[in-house]
Subunit: 465 residues, 2 copies
């Protein structure tokens, strides 16, 4: 059919549509009952609806996401420029968006963009982000490497937990009366302080080592293996502490711990091999089928759910699910590729902001509080930096490498924030204590790169002499 | 250092830890004030905490996700076996998890797993899923192909909207008194019914055409191009309707429409070229950098936010953001790969379940309601199937191909569900009408494959004679 005919028919059809529409709309007007005349107030109504459009939950949520992504990217790049890991910039962006800066400087804007009613959504989504993140951390854990380097790495990992743990428990004795919430027993507060000082951020460490070009070196492998082993140990202790606090007393946590052990064994010896068999069925090894992704998501979610219900934290289940994923071909790499970007770019910054919204630096209003904060930082550094250095020295490393391992293991990064949030949710620590610990986590992570530079400089000078 | 020495030191350090821990814990006990003795009731407390662990918001949310993913995968596979597109199975799974089946058969379990308090989260996350999904649809739209095949495809696309739109408006005249909510003006109800009958599900259609092996054929290309052009037109009309309903009257929607047009032009002529330039800077074309992902997420979110605030729907902004993404190298493919799996496996099923929770087949309690439902289905099929067939015939296709195009364009799939949810949210239609329209969407999508088989069979017979 010719072009003109087609155009003619097209115009005709639209014309018919217009006529029918106008006719029916006019006829239908008579059917309306009980509709208020919106003649004059229409304009006003529009202004109102425009106002409510700005503060519609979905609009607010989209705005939050936008602001959070933009801020965390901006600060991530800035921090990279000054020689800090990107993730530190993202964490700082989250804290600045909270009451510590945005809330203090622009209170109206802050309460508009982070209304109390929106925090539930933010928390839930940031939990989803954390579950995916812990899953990725679990997958990045190279259990083969752990087995090979077992002896020295395990020793460093565990010894570097023991010292800060002891110091943390001792410290908690002085902090308990002032910084523990009412009704929280001493053992809970004490154990939590201990573990909070002992954390090493395995993922941040991995990135620092990669960025410094230490990946292939003996030092890099030693530090990363020790951090990985330490991560496993720390999460087990953390699960144990959560179990005790949730069960109400040490003795009644026995059930939880028994369940947890059974669950871990079940995952390792039943689910793991099943997934491995499933993975080996695959023919095309360059893609992951969507149904396979669904199976993996279900395993991840069921694992998180079981751990949450058993009474150790959902994140432990996500971590464990990552650990048991098949290490065949490039299965893990494909899976990490699929999850990492959405989880890390879109969801993880939500967690930093959520943490930032809880971190109120304004709470540290007098000098004595800042003194306590400094004390916490000193004890944390002494315990972890010192403990790791001593452990490395005992295993026979030279002094420079031992100090470097100490500096690396002192990186607390965002794993510490995860632990602190769990403690705060369980009401083991107060908002003040939470803020101080967040500052400690930031300071110890900031220290890492400058400390290593300093150590290298000192030893370069010595060799030069 | 020797292995035995290391082991010895390790044991010593753990022993020291144990001693210090016990000592401090004992000493710290004295610091506790106001803590209730939890001797005997500990067991009871544990049972309580176990109960609350099951219904903790995070636990419930994880459980919901698990159930939803498992159910949608199961039904997706079942439907594929009986020759229906996978996505239909996922939609049906969502509806079965709602009050229509799960709520009716296991009301206790249903209210445990979908408590009213959790619906807000579910909705927000399903909106995020839809935003990502509409973004992917926008990216899958091949604007080059649209330009080439413009004339005939555009004619079919628009003519196949005009006929069902007219029929829908006529139908709405009979439905208005019984099925429009109080206070909704006739024109809103009428226009919405019109557009709801005119939708073609571009993504479902694309999959059906791929699954039937029609991708390269003239018929397949014609249908997919017409559906894409129809999609654009339908979303523009939908944005127009939302603008009118939100602004309160046709005349006061002028501002909204002007803003919307300015916004669309800005996206196409400013943001699009900027992104294209950004994309051309890239050297390594096999990966997308994380910062680039962030820029794209921000564009997507800002676009959605602007459209939501302007008064056309956020999803239109997401669609538009997808359309303006650079088509260079395999940029879109990489982006789709990154987003698709998390969005489609994890988040989109949430939308189906959210739709299912609103679809109450129990509301259609008497025969006359089912009669109305049947009428809606008949009018929808007559309008879309008939309209597309006539349009294709006019452009010079033979009868078999015209009928096939009609059958394909009649697929409403999940785009219809998106439109229906928007209408329901804006309170343009009642819950009864919503349910009937959902049934219509399901029936018309189910019809597609059998209809084409039937058409092919009839013409095969004819040729055989």
């Amino acid at each position: 059919m010719k072009r003109t005919t087609l155009t003619f028919l097209y115009i005709c059809s639209v014309a018919v549509l217009a006529v029918v529409m106008l006719y029916v709309l006019k006829a239908g007007k008579g059917l309306e009952t009980g509709i208020m005349n919106t003649g004059l107030p229409a304009r006003k109504q529009m202004v109102q609806s425009a106002e409510s459009a700005f503060s519609h939950p979905l609009a607010i949520f989209i705005l939050q996401l936008t602001l959070i992504i933009a801020a965390s990217q901006l600060f991530g790049h800035l921090f990279k420029k000054i020689g800090q890991p990107t993730v530190m910039g993202e964490i700082v962006a989250g804290i600045l968006l909270g009451p510590s800066l945005l809330g203090a400087v622009l209170p109206d804007f802050s309460s508009f963009i982070f209304p109390a009613s929106s925090l539930g959504n933010l928390q839930m989504l940031s939990q989803v982000g954390l579950i995916l993140f812990m899953f990725v951390i679990g997958m990045e854990l190279d259990t083969q490497m752990l087995k090979q380097k077992a002896r020295t790495a395990l020793f460093i990992a565990h010894f570097s937990i023991v010292l800060p743990f002891i110091l943390g428990i001792a410290l908690s004795y002085y902090l308990y009366s002032a910084y523990a919430p009412a009704n929280i027993p001493f053992y809970a507060f004490s154990l939590f302080t201990g573990i909070a000082l002992s954390i090493t951020a395995f993922p941040v460490l991995a990135r620092i080592i990669r960025e410094r070009g230490l990946s292939g070196t003996k030092l890099g492998i030693m530090a990363i293996t020790a951090a990985a082993a330490g991560d496993v140990a720390a999460w087990c202790i953390m699960a144990f502490i959560v179990a005790i606090v949730k069960a109400g007393s040490i003795s009644s946590s026995v059930y939880t711990i028994v369940f947890a052990v059974v669950y871990v064994l079940f995952m390792i010896f039943v689910v793991g091999p099943l997934l491995k068999r499933l993975a080996s069925y695959r023919n095309d090894r360059s893609i992951l089928k969507r149904s396979y992704m669904a199976v993996i998501f279900v395993v991840l979610l069921v694992s998180s759910y079981c751990c949450e219900v058993i009474g150790i934290h959902a994140l432990f289940g996500a971590f464990l699910a990552g650990v048991i994923m098949p290490a065949e071909w490039n299965f893990r790499k494909l899976l990490i590729d699929k999850i990492e970007d959405v989880a890390l770019v879109l969801l993880l910054p939500l967690f930093f902001v959520f943490t930032g919204l809880r971190t109120q630096i304004g709470l540290l209003s007098d000098v004595s509080l800042w003194g306590t904060c400094l004390l916490i930082i000193l004890v944390a550094v002494a315990g972890k930096f010192g403990g790791s250095t001593i452990a490395a020295r005992i295993t026979g490393e030279n002094m420079q490498d031992s100090l470097s391992i100490g500096a690396l293991m002192n990186t607390r990064g965002l794993v510490e924030l995860v632990v602190l949030n769990i403690g705060y949710d369980l009401k083991i620590i107060t908002a003040q204590m939470f803020t101080m610990m967040v500052i400690m986590a930031l300071v110890t992570t900031f220290m890492t790169n400058p400390s290593i530079d300093l150590i290298n400089k000192i030893y370069a000078k010595k060799q030069g002499l």
